[in-house]
C-alpha cells in the first residue's frame, strides 16, 4: 500500500473485504486496464455507472491530477464482456433471505436487477 494512501486512517468506515476477493477484483481490473488503456479507478467508476439505479457517483480528489483522472471515467463504456468479467470477479454469496433470490430459486417472479449466476457459490 502506498505511503500517501488515505486507507491507513479511513479503512474502518467501509465494511471489511475478503482478501481473496480483493485479489480477484484487482486481477480483473488489471486485465481490463490492459485491454482498454484506461486506469483502474476509471474502470471501477465506469463499472458503477452501468449498474441500475445509480444516479451519480461521488468522486474525491486531493489534487487536480486525481480529479482529472477520475473525470476520465465517463465518455466511454466498458464492453458487456468486460462488465461480466468484473461482475464474476467481484461476486459474493449474499446472506439469507437474499440468497435464494440471488441463486435463482424464485427468479420466475423476481427477476434480479443485476445479472446473477444461478447455483454458483463464492467463486466465479
Amino acid at each position: 500500500m502506498p505511503e500517501s494512501t488515505r486507507l491507513h486512517e479511513t479503512a474502518r468506515f467501509a465494511p471489511p473485504v475478503d482478501e481473496e476477493r480483493l485479489y480477484r477484483v484487482v486481477d480483473g481490473l488489471d486485465e481490463v486496464a490492459a485491454e482498454t488503456g484506461k486506469t483502474i479507478p476509471q474502470i471501477a467508476l465506469n463499472w458503477l455507472l452501468q449498474r441500475p439505479m445509480v444516479s451519480t457517483v461521488l468522486i474525491g480528489a486531493r489534487n487536480e491530477e486525481q480529479l482529472r483522472q477520475n473525470l476520465g471515467a465517463v465518455g466511454w463504456s466498458l464492453s458487456a464482456e468486460q462488465v461480466a468479467m468484473l461482475d464474476a470477479a467481484s461476486a459474493v454469496t449474499p446472506p439469507y433471505p437474499y440468497y435464494p433470490y440471488w441463486n435463482g430459486q424464485f427468479s420466475e417472479r423476481n427477476p434480479a436487477p443485476v445479472p446473477v449466476r444461478p447455483g454458483t457459490r463464492e467463486h466465479g
Binding site: 465494511p15 473485504v17 467508476l45 439505479m53 444516479s55 451519480t56 461521488l58 487536480e64 467481484s90
Partner: protein, 216 residues
Amino acid sequence: MEYRFLGASGFKVPVLGFGTGTFGGKGPLFSAWGNTDVDEAKRLVDICLDAGANLFDTADVYSDGASEIILGAAIKGRRDDVILSTKITLRAGQGPNDVGASRHHLIRATDKALKRLGTDYIDLLRLHHFDAMTPVESVMSTLDDLVRAGKVRYIGVSNFSGWQLMKSLVVSDRYGYARYVANQVYYSLIGRDYEWELMPLGLDQGVGAVVWSPLG
C-alpha cells in the same frame, strides 16, 4: 457529461459528482482524507464545472463545518451553476440536541449549513444516518416543512437499511409529505451489498443511488 434523473424526482444530476470530504482537513479522520484550502478548492470546482460535473457533496461534520465553508467560498458567484448536496444528523456539537433527526436539530442544522455554504437553498439534503429515537412522522414532517420553506429542494438519506428507508417512504405517502428521492450508499466492486436490498428497493420506490467511496 451524462445527466441522469435523481430517482423519481424529474431532476437531473451529473453521473459524476464531487465529494468534498477532503476540504478543510480538521481532525484525525478528515486530515487523512485531505486538507484542501479555498484557492485549491476553487481550482477543483473550475475543473469539475468545465467537465459538467456540477454536483458537489459535503456534510456538516466534514472537518467540523470547514468543508461547507470552503465549498461555499469556492462556488461564490456561481450558485446557479451548481447543485449543492449536504448531510446532517451526525453529532455536530457538545449539546444534548446537537445530533439526530429531531425537529429541533434538523431545522437548526439546516440553517447552519445554509449559512456556512453562503446560500439560501440546498438542492439535496440528506440524513447522514437513521435516528431510531425520533418518530419517523416527526422527521418527515420537519423535512416537508424545510422543503415548503424553500430551504431544501430534494431530500434523501444515507446509510439507511431497507426497512428504515421503506418505513420513511410509507410515512411520506400516508401524510403527503415530501418523499426521499436519493439514497447515498457505499457501493463498489469490492462492496456490492447495495445490490441485495437497497437496489431493488430503489427500483421499486424511485430512490436513486448517490454512490460514496466508489473505489472501495
